[in-house]
Amino acid sequence: MQEPTFLVLTALLGEPLHGYALLGEVESVSDGRVRLRVGTLYAALDRLTEEGLVAVESEEVVNGRLRRTYAVTGAGAETLAAEVDRMTALAKKARARLRGRLAAGAATVATAGAR
């Protein structure tokens, strides 16, 4: 799953959002690290709605323009949960290896200091 897709799904978990609010929520979820472009956002929404992971919750006309509100579907929540599990498992492995490497590095430093 690509990062914009992951972030959009995560952002929509709280409540249904329209496009502009979704951009802000993605930025908030990523702690300001990711600011999605509008083109990227709608490409992700297209893909997600096509796969049935996101659905249009409601439509309203604001200032003469159609505004759609999107929500995560049950399938979307399940897919996100699976992705989170996968990423968590990967993170655990990475952390374990990092611990090993850091421990080995500390031992090397200690040996060098003893000499």
């Binding site: 329209h18 496009g19 502009y20 951009l23 472009r37 509008v38 083109g39 990227t40 956002l41 709608y42 490409a43 929404l45 297209d46 893909r47 709605t49 096509e50 249009v56 604001v62 200032n63 323009r65 159609l66 505004r67 759609r68």
Partner: protein
Amino acid sequence: MSPERRYRLLLLSYPRSYRAARAEEMLDVLLATEGRRGALSGMPEAVSLVGHGLALRLSRPMVRPAFSPSVGLAGVSLLCLLAVLGAQQLTAAGIRGLGLDGYPDEWRIGVLWVDPRWPVHALWVTTGLALLLGRHRPALASAWAAAVLQTWHLVVTAVTSVELPWPGDVGPHWVAPGGIAQGSWALLSLSSAVMLGGPAAAARAHAGMPGRRWCMVVATGLVGVALASVAGPAAYALLGNAHPQLVDDVRGPVLPLVLAAAVLASGLLHVPHGRTALLLLGMLAAAPLAARWSEPVGTLGASMVVFVAGYAVAQRGRRRVPSTPGPL
């Protein structure tokens, strides 16, 4: 330029159907985010929009112009008539080759045993049979093979002037008849293959008239072939060498084609889109008729104009592109 106008221009990179469903919504978000973006972030946004728009255009299947039902009907009709023509040519060549027609040897110039066009005729017959049997994919392949082969004949004839070499050529070289006449048949062969569209379109076109009626068209044409095979020698016996062209016409494809066309027309008049198909067939028939009696270059030009005009008329009812994108 106002931001709205600028964004509308950028959104033109998206497919029309997508814009119809999404443009206003995207524009709303773009204008709402305009304020919080810095002055320098306009370009990446523009690049992103154009990139996604073009990617969407490329990733979507091309919306091909739909063949209107009348064009498909005309295509199947034309192929049935070409099948009758092919059967007549093969029969005439066989009878001539076996010397059963009683004609003098000088007449060999018309139909020779070694006529290299026989594969084209055989392919026309194959196409007709495949269509009648509902085998639309082989029919399409056969129709295109005939069109390509006949075009190749045409090119070789033009390059070699009069003689058309062929691997199966075991007798005297076949003298190619007027190139423009062959050109008109090649045009019809090519047109019929194009008008058939794909296998699905061919199946729809075939279903446009009852299968029994298509069989009747071809069967009537074959009866005409049998009659012409008998009528030719009879006319020669009656008229002798006094009217060779008339005798040639009697034994030729005129009778089979007229009979088949009559049955075809009576069927097309009673099915939806049949009248337009009939109009198209009439336009296409102008090509070989004009090729026989008029100036070559003018005939080619006229037949092309007729075909293009007929195709344009038939495409008036072409299918509309869906106005909403798939995901919605």
